[in-house]
Amino acid sequence: MNWWRKDLLGLEQLSREEINLILDTAIPMKDIVQRDIKKVPTLRGRTVVNLFYEPSTRTRTSFELAGKYMGANTVNISTGSSSVVKGESLKDTAKILEVMGADVVVIRHSMAGAAQILAETVSASVINAGDGIHEHPTQALLDMFTIREEKGNISGLTVTIVGDILHSRVVRSNIWGLTKLGARVRVVGPPTLIPCGIENLGVEVYYSLEEALVGSDVVMALRIQKERQKKGLFPSLREYARLYGITRERLALAKPDCLLLHPGPVNRGVELSSEVADGAQSMINRQVTNGVAVRMALLFLLTGGAKGEAIDTGR
């Protein structure tokens, strides 16, 4: 199949075939990342702008490297230096990038729908690198790539996502993606961090971590933010870790070959004990490598790479 979309705003709209196309395209990209000389000319002359309204190190670096490995010109704009502080609207900023000749704009924004506003404003391709608590499709794609790489297939797996489901864009994208690929998805966390009606998205809701872990093929822990405690959504990080922290003993309740994922950065001793974060089942570092490959695949597809051409891996 060919890629036809201008933008990648979320996984809700994508078909199973489209998701598989992205994941398949990422396989040769990973080869490039693992080479000594990480550079192909595929996107030579193209410009990728990373427009980050929220602080981010790992996602921004991942996109920047993905662009550079593919030979594109990459520019980073972050809030501190941008005209947002001067009161310019998102639409006006978008139009500026457009007339400067951006081919792809990668946007990270604290508000849901921001990527869509951008996509409707510019003719450049837009990649959503996280909009509020709505979607973070590239994170879910790299999670799925990692699971598929390790397990061979996603269909039929039980994936349990632990933690702050309410405020997680990673969860929403993963739910859409994983369920489309045939996984069973469980979410588990304190009821105050489970959003209203999430079960209507085709997932099972648990409040007991132990019950949720039994039979799991994959466990994905989410980062918990300290501000949520201040808003009164749970009493303390201590109690959170006691109920929902993943330890060696708890991980043992899942299947023996269960994978452990975390989008990072990890609060050690809260979401994960150091022992499991660094343990054999942990995919955390692999996820980061795969993130670059998946983002290269997307840049390739969105700039017209899949219109029947073979992927030029420079070999």
Partner: protein, 430 residues
Amino acid sequence: MKLLIRGGRIVDPAQDMDRVGDVLVDHGKIAAVGDVIEPAGDMQVIDAKGMVVTPGLIDMHVHLREPGQEHKETIETGTRAAAAGGFTAVCAMPNTEPVMDNYSVVHYVREKGRQAGYARVYPVGAITKGLQGKELTELADLISAGVVAVSDDGRPVSNAAVMRRALEYAKPFKLPIVSHAEDRDLSGDGVMHEGTVSTKLGLNGIPAAAENVAVARDILLAEATGGKLHLAHISTARAVELVRQAKQRGVPVTAEATPHHFTLTHEAVVGYDTSTKVNPPLRSQEDVEAVIAGLKDGTIDAIATDHAPHAEEEKDVEYDLAPFGLIGLETALPLVVTKLIEPGILSWKQAVSLMSTNPARILNLPGGTLKVGSPADITVINPELRQVVSRDKLVSKAKNTPFAGWSLQGWTEYTIVGGSIVYRRQRKED
């Protein structure tokens, strides 16, 4: 100058009237209604054949934004929009800058409305000084300046003791306390109804409980004090039920609902169109059905628009950043005709009660009927005319409507205030 409206279907619930006939206006008052009146030389004649002739529609709940936010709307543009929508009177909410919490500002709004010369403007004063929810305003003074009710709309009175005192203090004046019933702690930083749609869109939710808790509180306070409570824009199934039960117990409570709450659900927010961002938020299908049932069985007394104009640049932003509110004056009537009368949910008489008779009764206004001697505030409606709502054609200064592109029927043909034609639909031959 006399005005004769000939051959229309006259719907006036106050006289239990629904018949074809004539209406004669003389010196700004209704001089005769009902039987055929022969035109004389000193009469201007409106041929109302095929039209529905009703007492002028009254919108109990609008934001005219003046003074202070004239870039959104002015008293002139807002009342012109009202006239175009068939409204002969509007109640202007007090969240202006400065707030309508004293004689001067209320007087200013009323006078500006009079000078504009379109729909009548009835100011609604603030319950508390500066809408701060702490100290009561000088009610007697506000009444002498012309307020017909008081409300801290948009800034609900969170302190129950203050609400209790307001309901008590207003009793001798028989002045309704209009409550925007919302528990702000529960709504938090929500921007839309809390439910599956908010979860999908990643927008913070406003739970139905934020409204229900406040509606229950205010009903209990009205029951305890005997004060006159009017609940603005109720939007949840539970709120409708609470009002229904309260009325059965004899609590002095009335309620209104907006056209957007009986025509749109939270599904309309998909796509992040900020003209769907409104408070209370667009609710679930179940809530919409309950509001419609409440309108039908009389639990809800009035349809009011909560017309809330905003400038384009204010709305053309991220959903979280956009201000709450949508405009409703020019779409309310066709939405009622298309969505409630045409499908047979409401009779014309019921609709006119909700949009004229009851608002006049609740607020003790002079209009709301075509009885002889009443002010000649009349709306002439073309029930068959079908048009597509177009942002370009709106009279209001603001364009923040979620109904653009909707094909609706039942539009205003003439709006008459005090015997003068303040709006007349432009025809192709004009």
